[in-house]
């Protein structure tokens, strides 16, 4: 059963990924990307990684792709000529893609010979991955967690500062 789900999800991911790069309309590409990311979330469910599933859906599907769509709709679409997806870069892209594929396959099969990785430890924060992450965040990692909150505040200040219109007396017309 699990293998069946795995192979069907993988097939769908590859199919949608192909659709992302072959669609001529960028809006369609973005929507196919949503599909790819959702099916990847399905793979994470198979791995019992429920926290990553949540993050995948909220951040990638909910945040990043929606941002893509916003950007696409902000630049007026009609001005962009619907470009052919096979432009001059494609031979280089194919070579690079193949190289990455060979690399990944090689290290998946033979990686043990080259890299020595530490042995996995058992989770020490109780059962359930999300709960474990929460416990770790508010337990031993509370210090960096608190600094991260100040970091977010800083990012907000910066965004406000950069996007604010200059005050009238600040830019004297010369």
């Amino acid at each position: 059963m699990e293998t069946l789900i795995f192979w069907s999800l993988s097939g769908l991911i590859v199919l949608f990924a192909l659709l992302v790069i072959s669609a001529k309309n960028p809006v369609h590409s973005a929507i196919f990307l949503v599909g790819t990311l959702l099916f990847m979330a399905g793979l994470y469910i198979l791995l019992d990684a429920e926290f990553i599933v949540g993050v995948q859906v909220i951040v990638y599907v909910g945040g990043i792709t929606v941002l893509y769509l916003f950007v696409i709709s902000l630049i007026v679409l009609k001005r962009i000529p619907l470009e052919s997806t096979l432009n001059r870069q494609w031979p280089a892209a194919v070579i690079a893609g193949l190289a990455v594929m060979v690399e990944v396959a090689f290290f998946l099969l033979k990686g043990d010979l080259f890299f020595q990785v530490f042995e996995k430890k058992k989770m020490i924060y109780g059962t359930g991955e999300t709960a474990a992450i929460g416990r770790a965040l508010y337990g031993p990692y509370v210090f960096p967690f608190e600094i991260a909150t100040v970091l977010l505040l800083l990012a907000i200040i910066g965004a406000v500062l950069m996007s604010r219109k200059p005050e009238r007396d600040q830019t004297p017309e010369s």
Binding site: F118, G126, G139, I157, M162, E167
Partner: protein, 505 residues
Amino acid sequence: MESFILPLRDLVTIAPAIILLVWSAAILIGLVFVRSGRLHRAAPFCFALIGLALAGVAYFQLAGIFDSLPHPEGVHYTFNQMYSLDGLTLFFQGIFLAAGFLVVLISPRFLDEENATSPEYYALILLSVAGMMLLAGAADLITLYICLEFMAISVYILVGYLKAQSRATEASLKYFILGAFSSALILFGMSLVFALTGTTNLEAIHGALKTVGDGGQPLLVLALILFLAGLGFKIAAVPFHMWCPDAYEGAPTPITAFISVAPKAAGFAIFIRLFMFLFQPLTAEYVSLVGLLSIVTMTVGNVLAVRQTNVKRLLAYSSISHAGYLLMGLMVREFLGLQAIGVYLVGYLFMNLGAFAVITFMRRERIGGEDIEDFSGLIHAHPVIAAAMAVFLLSLAGIPPTIGFIAKYWVFGAVIKAYVATMDRLFLYVAVAGALNAVVALFYYFRIVKRMFMGDAVTRPPLALGLPARIALGLTLAGTLLLGLYPDPAIRFAGWIHMTFIGFY
């Protein structure tokens, strides 16, 4: 089930940073109530000074306690081993606080000239100093990364603060994109180290790496290269220096002064901590890579500086070459090398901030004050400022009796001693390259001195320095000259860096 641990007792150890955060929040909240008028300009400056002064008091308390400890050596963990208040931390925190203080002092005149509002400016300076102070004490890869971003983001914003100027926006964007890229490289290196050892605590990693055999070697070398590239961006070492002149030129001049000293020192703080703890098994690779980086950095920085006519750009390239000299000290991972870095950073703090302070003062009315021609005949109109600038430039060139000479002396001493001890030719080559570069550097520093003393006097609107600017000039001048004559305090202070690593080899 363990209880949630919020170690309130440990907060004392980060008291200076907390004080800075509180006062920067006070500045931002005050912004809501006072929107215009004199108070709008003056209050943030005063708040920033008070915040830095109080943080300084807290810092001296901690440093005093540290100094009187019977066993100050080693790491002193707080916050569940996420943070450590040790010699390395305290040394660098002192540098950051001093840099923040001096930069705040030279800022108000510049902001008035540029007609820019100031509340966020001072709040961001306090925030970035706080971020760097936490960064210096990060004892865990996660804390280290978050503090690194903390520091970097506040600096990106400060560089683009005068966003009405297109070159400021360009500088900020360039710095941001390359900075984000370098952070990604560092993060990748961290993930490799985690894959090897299964822990993020630096000391635990150091212990775990002892048992990693040859199987782990390739992964560790890869991590070393990634860390070198990522941190190379942060300290503007040569193949990774492209952002540096543009960011320095486009930033408001006080911020240029700030980023040329404080984030660079912060880069060295994590450089030392990471490379001492993580890469002890790779001594040969480490020495050759850092040595090569050092030679290339100082040579390229110096050669490119020769042709510059914009003084800010010139000092940007000069600061690249100084990073090369600092890397020389980093090659030697022992007491002398670490102490040399410390002495160099103390000197660099005073002389570089002083030189940039003078450039900041040169900005007036319609004069940019950045072109080398603007310095022509300065001695006739403002002898004191011209003389001070000459002292800073002589110190940057490494001429006695200034702290710049002591700094170079210590760095060369460390490298030569390492050569005698190991007979590794690379140390000798690096020392020779450093000596040759010092000659090149003399040429372009003296070009400015010559313009100031022998150039034609041009009538320009006079400089009017306020009291804060005078204090800043006096402090940097005193630091450069007095520490040059009596370097003992700087040398002793620099010795603190090594305290962290005593009994550790």
